[in-house]
């Protein structure tokens, strides 16, 4: 079963008087349980592709299905719901809420969902924080954590809602090689244990080694898989 199905995806950006063709008719299917890397040089369109899959950006034309739902015509509220319930996002710069502690950052999406009691939310968040090896730092604010620790919190936050799909945009770009390795190992373990589909963009060869599937993108087109 495919978690993501993309057909003839086109994304254009107006830039003054010119139009930038970020994606030029992309076709892609991502099966459930994939550990996929999208790679390409800077400006190739990999972040744009990830953003459209993650319902952060919308396509100019073409079809994008995530978790079986066609996202190209969905209103903002529905897209936000998809991001909250179906997709987890890990950013290059971690992007934790600065005024919340590590534990509270992981609780955040669960509280937005509003399905669990406060105590259950706390319990689940602690569990995930523990699974990424950072339980001792649950009370620390992001400013008090190292880069690697922050990214672990971001991973826990992305996974705590049991999403079908986790998207990671250059997840190790701001980490040293040791931390980068450990983060990738963690993501790989999550993929193996939970069957969560991981798609990450990178142009780091070290990262590519961990991917089971590699999709190459160049000038807005898929050139190899």
């Amino acid at each position: 079963m495919n978690v993501v199905e993309i057909h003839n995806l086109v994304k254009d950006y107006p830039l003054g008087d010119t139009i930038v063709h970020a994606l030029r008719g992309v076709d892609l299917e991502i099966p459930q349980g994939s550990f996929m890397s999208i790679t390409g040089p800077s400006g190739s369109g990999k972040t744009t592709l990830l953003n459209i899959i993650g319902c952060i950006d919308t396509a100019t034309s073409g079809s994008v299905k995530v978790g079986g739902a066609e996202t190209s015509n969905l209103p903002d509220k529905k897209l936000t719901d998809l991001r909250l319930h179906t997709i987890g996002f890990i950013f290059q710069t971690f992007n934790l809420v600065p005024v919340l502690s590590a534990l509270e950052n992981v609780e955040f999406p669960l509280l937005l969902q509003g399905n669990l009691s406060a105590s259950k939310v706390r319990e689940k968040a602690r569990q995930f924080l523990s699974s990424v090896g950072i339980a001792d730092h649950e009370k620390h604010k992001p400013a008090e954590l190292s880069g690697g620790q922050r990214q672990r919190v971001a991973i826990a936050r992305a996974l705590v809602t049991d999403p079908t799909l986790v998207l990671a945009d250059e997840p190790t770009a701001n980490l040293d090689s040791e931390n980068g390795e450990s983060i990738l190992q963690l993501m790989q373990a999550m993929n193996t244990e939970r069957g969560t589909t991981f798609v990450f963009s990178t142009h780091d060869a070290q990262v590519l080694r961990y991917a089971r599937t590699v999709v190459q993108i160049h000038d807005g087109r898929i050139v190899g898989a």
Binding site: T47, N51, G54, I56, D57, D76, K77, T80, D81, R83, L84, H85, F89, F91, Q92, T93, N95, V97, P98, V99, L100, E104, F108, P109, L111, L112, Q113, A118, R157, T161
Partner: protein, 492 residues
């Protein structure tokens, strides 16, 4: 809970901005509260200075009276006498929301100069002194002499009237047996003793009555406790002396007419009168006063009936009394006090309007500054807000977060401003800021600056603060809620 937690922590994190917005809210709330206190103090003061000292809440006038400004009419225009005052007063006093009523005579009179110089002009109020003192217990401060007792006659001169007469006639007036010129207005203290008088000869103006001159003993000197520059021009005399001066029938003058005589006097048919068929009544009372007697049914004549109300505002009270008088077909109508005092009422409304206008301007300026500052804050937090949206926060959540932050600021800083404003209102009278200027007295609420906050004023301040904050938050909320995850990523 999440939203409040985020709100508090975000405010603490952006302390500088919070202090800026908080400072504006504090100052705005303080000025708003103090301003409301000044307006309330002014209204209370006006009530004391005008309503409780001189006019009552409503003034009943003759239905023939064209001008509402009966107290301070232009050029001292004549105030029409009220007929059938007995029936009118009975109707007014029977209303549960009427506390008391007081008939007075009021007109401009001429003071004749026995030294063949120019005459003087003053306003004259004809009163039953005992009833007048009961109606306005604190209005007048005696400085010399005594108020005439029941059945006694005399004129009471406030120092404003005395000054005016001195300026016009070159004469000053003191009660008999008192030669202390220190009691006189400053400019008159060095007057030659030959110009001191203990009696004043007064003559009334009337278009319809035959007025006469009357020699009046100066019974007392004094001053009005409030707005003395304005009310000080109103001398007081016993009502019978007033009636003599104005050519009104006095209480002791009763005219008994036959029905035929009444018919003749009220007849519009001149042929009847001129043909000699009429049996003209013979009397030594002037014919116009005879006509009065017929029409008034021997009711004594007054010009105004002052009314104090209980639990009803002046405008509403006047409206109700007007309706009652019309329904009873009585020849009178009701005027609220602020119209009866003409320019003073307008001035008071003008000052009130200016103060409220200033408050409104404060609103707008504070609102714009707050909105701009919060909008800037929202834009500075694009990445943070965008990331929350990326993780699954909806636009509504972001809008509520912004509103919560503003609400916390409003509650803390705005609340502190309200409390400080209330304290300032309470402490200001203790400073004893004093003025003798009548215009400032209107703003001050009396001789001493005395702002006042009633419980309902505090509620109004709270609502006004909530309104300003609510309106000022709308744009920043909309701006923050429109931030997309893509905006945040683009910024990165």
């Amino acid at each position: 809970m999440l939203i409040w937690r985020l709100a508090w922590r975000n405010l603490w994190r952006h302390r500088g901005l919070s202090m800026v917005v908080g400072g504006i809210l504090f100052l705005g709330a303080l000025l708003l509260t103090f301003g409301n206190g000044v307006v309330s103090g002014m209204e209370r003061g006006l009530e004391r200075q005008v309503v409780e000292s001189f006019t009552g809440d409503v003034v009943i006038v003759s239905d023939k009276q064209e001008d509402d400004a009966v107290f301070l009419s232009m050029m001292g225009k004549e105030v029409e006498p009220i007929y059938r005052i007995g029936a009118i007063r009975a109707l007014v006093d029977s209303q549960k929301w009427v506390r008391a009523s007081l008939p007075v005579g009021k007109n401009m009179v001429m003071a004749l100069n026995d030294a063949e110089g120019s005459p003087g002009y003053i306003f004259l109020l004809g009163v039953d002194f005992a009833a007048w003192r009961k109606f306005f217990p604190d209005a007048f401060q005696l400085q010399a002499g005594s108020i005439p007792g029941p059945g006694l006659r005399g004129i009471v001169l406030p120092n404003g009237a005395n000054t005016q007469l001195y300026q016009q006639m070159g004469q000053v007036f003191l009660p008999e047996g008192i030669d202390d010129t220190s009691l006189l207005p400053t400019e008159a203290r060095k007057v030659d003793r030959s110009r001191i008088r203990h009696e004043v000869v007064v003559m009334g103006y009337s278009n319809t009555m035959s007025s006469s001159d009357q020699r009046m003993k100066v019974a007392a000197l004094g001053r009005y406790r409030a707005l003395n520059t304005i009310w000080g021009k109103f001398a007081l005399t016993d009502i019978e002396s007033y009636r003599s001066v104005m050519g009104y029938l006095r209480q002791d003058e009763k005219v008994v007419l036959t029905q035929d005589q009444k018919d003749v006097l009220t007849s519009n048919d001149l042929d009847d009168l001129l043909s000699g068929n009429a049996d003209a009544p013979k009397s030594n009372v002037a014919s116009d006063t005879l006509a009065q007697a017929v029409v008034a049914g021997n009711d004594p004549l007054w010009n105004l009936l002052l009314v104090r109300l209980g639990g009803v505002g002046a405008d509403e009270g006047a409206r109700r009394l007007d309706t009652l008088l019309k329904e009873a077909k009585l020849p009178a109508r009701a005027v609220p006090w602020n119209k009866a005092v003409g320019v003073i009422g307008s001035m008071a409304m003008l000052i009130r309007g200016a103060l409220l206008g200033f408050a409104a301007l404060l609103f707008v300026v504070a609102g714009i500054v707050i909105a701009n500052t919060l909008a800037m804050s929202a834009l500075e937090r694009t990445t943070e807000i965008g990331m929350m949206r990326a993780v699954g926060a909806k636009r509504g959540f972001i809008a509520r977060l912004m509103l919560s932050e503003t609400a916390v600021l409003a509650a803390s800083f705005g609340g502190a401003g309200l409390i400080s404003g209330a304290l300032l209102v309470a402490l200001t009278p203790l400073l004893g800021v004093h003025t003798g200027n009548d215009l400032l007295q209107m703003v001050y609420g009396g001789e001493v600056f005395h702002p006042l906050l009633r419980p309902q004023d505090l509620v109004v301040c709270l609502l006004e603060l909530a309104l300003v904050v609510g309106l000022a938050s709308l744009y920043p909320m909309k701006l923050a809620a429109s931030i997309t995850p893509l905006d945040a990523i683009t910024r990165e």
